[in-house]
């Protein structure tokens, strides 16, 4: 969902982008030596295809899966090769996946609304549930994601929400509403930050007004803009990457934050989802229609859904995973947000791709940040 997620600091993000470019430049060749897999109808996959003749090319955010995943998966699944390429942002992944010609990528990690957009373009292979028995490990809620009900073309890998991350020792009352951020009380004046990443800039205002985070109605966006402009003089800053640092240093007392980015394991820092509601973001795994290794691709997704593998993300990068069996294995550290219940998450509204209407949010964000 975020542009540059996981890499928490700007320099790191820049480095990651550079690295991803380098990897993109070096990678690319993927041997599609399979014969059995390229059956005429893509829909007919063989449950007992010879995986040793298939190789996999994966694209994922840096640091989002275990480092040893390629070797372990290769050994376990008996495929001829697993290669992992990196992307820094959803945009970069989309550029790779939608480039003309065969991307050579079999499995991609992208956020839900991007999976939706890829599917609308006919680029995704439907998930063959019979080849992914580990889907049974997922919470029932994981099959009710609004962009893809029933996991028809995407399998959720991580999920979470957006809320207010705050300092318990520096606030006089616990934030409960987006109003606390948009019209901060006197003690928080100039001590709050908001995000500028388009959809998340609009989210607090849209939710406070009772609108959908996916609205494309001009008058609703205009009303949100009024609120955002009125809030601007009371902000410390706009911040998409270092709001956690500002909270830790005490420069800020409340910040708009993604749950995985709110440093709740620090003393005195807590996370609240405002009563007006918020979003539900999901990062998913998808299989490309152009893949010539679809049986192996399903096998890889099945392997990642293994509780032992899937719990890695919760234990190491602090993201909730929609896998019941995996979450039951995880010992959540003190103050961790891993305990947010799937049902609570599902109250959030999934951000979906708006196509051409997304330029309205671009304009909104330029208008709000440029206003002096």
């Amino acid at each position: 969902m975020s542009r540059i997620r996981f890499t928490r600091r700007l320099p790191a993000a820049v480095a990651a982008a550079g690295l991803a470019l380098a990897v993109a430049a070096c990678g690319g060749e993927s041997s599609n030596s399979s014969d059995g897999a390229t059956a005429a109808a893509a829909e007919e996959l063989k449950p007992n295809a010879d995986l040793s003749k298939q190789s996999l090319q994966v694209t994922v955010w840096d640091g989002y899966t275990p480092k040893e995943l390629p070797e372990k998966a290769k050994e376990k699944l008996k495929v001829s090769e697993v290669k992992v390429g990196l992307h820094a942002t959803n945009e970069e992944a989309m550029a790779k996946l939608t480039a003309s010609g065969d991307s050579g990528i079999d499995v991609a990690f992208v956020s839900g609304q991007y999976a939706q957009a890829l599917n609308e373009q006919g680029l995704l292979e439907p998930i063959h549930a019979e080849l992914v028995p580990n889907l049974a490990n997922l919470y029932p809620e994981a099959g009710q994601l609004s962009y893809d009900k029933g996991n028809k073309y995407s399998v959720p890998y991580t999920w979470g929400t957006t809320g207010i991350c705050y300092r318990t020792d520096l606030v006089k009352s616990v934030p409960t509403s987006w109003n606390d951020l948009l019209k901060p009380p006197a003690w928080a004046d100039k001590k709050v930050t908001m995000m500028t990443t388009e959809r998340w800039l609009a989210l607090p205002a849209l939710k406070l007004l009772g609108y959908s985070v996916n609205t494309d109605k001009d008058e609703e966006i205009a009303k949100a803009k009024e609120l955002l402009l009125a809030a601007k003089p009371h902000l410390l800053a706009y911040d998409d990457t270092t709001f956690g640092d500002k909270l830790v240093s005490g420069e800020a007392v409340m910040v708009e934050a993604w749950d995985g980015w709110c440093p709740t394991t620090e003393k005195n820092i807590k996370f609240a989802v405002p009563k007006e509601g918020s979003d539900l973001w999901v990062d998913t795994m998808v299989i490309m229609k152009s893949s010539k290794n679809k049986e192996a691709a399903h096998a890889l997704i099945n392997y990642i859904l293994d509780p032992e593998i899937h719990s890695w993300a919760a234990e190491n990068i602090n993201y909730k995973v929609p896998n019941k069996a995996a979450m039951e294995r995880v010992k959540a550290p003190e103050g961790s947000l891993l305990g947010i219940k799937p049902a609570e998450l599902l109250d959030g509204e999934s951000i979906i791709d708006l196509g051409q209407a997304s330029t309205k949010y671009t304009r909104l964000s330029s208008e709000v940040t440029a206003q002096s």
Partner: protein, 288 residues
């Protein structure tokens, strides 16, 4: 015989040309591959449409240029011009006396002073910007020192003033160096002659030194103005993204809005402004 003698220098000329070509080719290749080709691409993107996932849809449109004259974006360009001009002016006011004094120093002190001017460049830019955050933030060094004196805390970060301070700090050496080289090069006899003819020190400065250092002033101003105008890191980190400069706008078009054509059009506008400035500078330097 004669024709043979005439023909002889030809291979040498050709050899020299070949030599020149060989020695120029790395530079030329660099310019063509890394400057002209990307510039050509940027230029070509400006007349096409935005792809849904970034990239470019090759359908002709002039919409990007009509968007450019939208008051919203003109305002951003105006804001950038103002911030960059203010930075340049302050840099000149600080840089000129500095360069002048360094030029008067005995030669071994000169080297030391010049090293001191350039020294900050040896540290990574992002780290230097972060250092300002640590100095100026609410609980930062400056505020805690003031706190000991019973003052503050003040809101020192995330203003337009902080942006100007950051830009000034970053690019001041680029003002001092060309000024120094312009002032240092002046023949001391000119000043002596001026004094002999009865001019006071101030008149000498006003009528001799200053006019002769104008090319240095113009170069310095350009060196400070250009990177200030297009900067996006400082407005984001020291300005808290609360005011947008044209660099931020371009960056956002590519990284957030997935609108490469409009980003390219903005970049083209930025280049156009800078080329216009270069032409003015070249013209003024020739007249000076």
């Amino acid at each position: 015989m004669k024709s043979e003698a005439k023909a002889r220098p030809a291979p040498r000329v050709r050899g020299r040309r070949l030599g020149a070509f060989v020695f120029l080719s790395p530079g030329l290749t660099y310019l063509v591959v890394l400057l002209l080709v990307p510039l050509g691409l940027v230029l070509s993107y400006t007349v096409f449409q935005r792809g849904r996932f970034g990239g470019v849809v090759y359908e002709f449109t002039t919409e990007n240029f009509t968007r450019l004259i939208d008051p919203l974006y003109l305002g951003v360009v105006g804001n950038s011009l103002r911030i960059a001009a203010l930075t340049t002016l302050i840099a000149l006011l600080i840089g000129y006396p500095t360069a002048y004094l360094i030029a008067q120093l005995p030669s071994r002190w000169k080297t030391l002073a010049l090293v001191a001017v350039v020294l900050p460049f040896w540290t990574n830019f992002i780290i230097r910007v972060y250092a300002w955050i640590m100095l100026l933030s609410g609980p930062g060094l400056v505020n805690s020192a003031l706190g000991k004196l019973g003052l503050g805390p003040y809101e020192l970060l995330y203003h337009e003033g902080t942006i100007v301070t950051g830009l000034l700090y970053s690019y001041l050496p680029l003002m001092v160096l060309p000024l120094y080289s312009a002032i240092e090069r002046l023949d001391p006899q000119l000043r002596e002659a001026s004094a002999n003819l009865g001019a006071s020190a101030f008149t000498t400065f006003r009528k001799v030194t200053l006019p002769l250092s104008v090319p240095g002033v113009l170069t310095g101003c350009l060196f400070v103005f250009v990177p200030s105008f297009g900067n996006f890191v400082i407005p984001e980190m020291l300005g808290g993204s609360k005011s947008t400069m044209v660099g931020n706008l371009i960056r956002d078009q590519f990284l957030k809005a997935r609108d490469w054509p409009f980003g390219s059009t903005l970049a083209l506008a930025l280049i156009a402004v800078l080329v216009a400035l270069l032409i003015v500078q070249a013209w003024a330097a020739r007249r000076a």
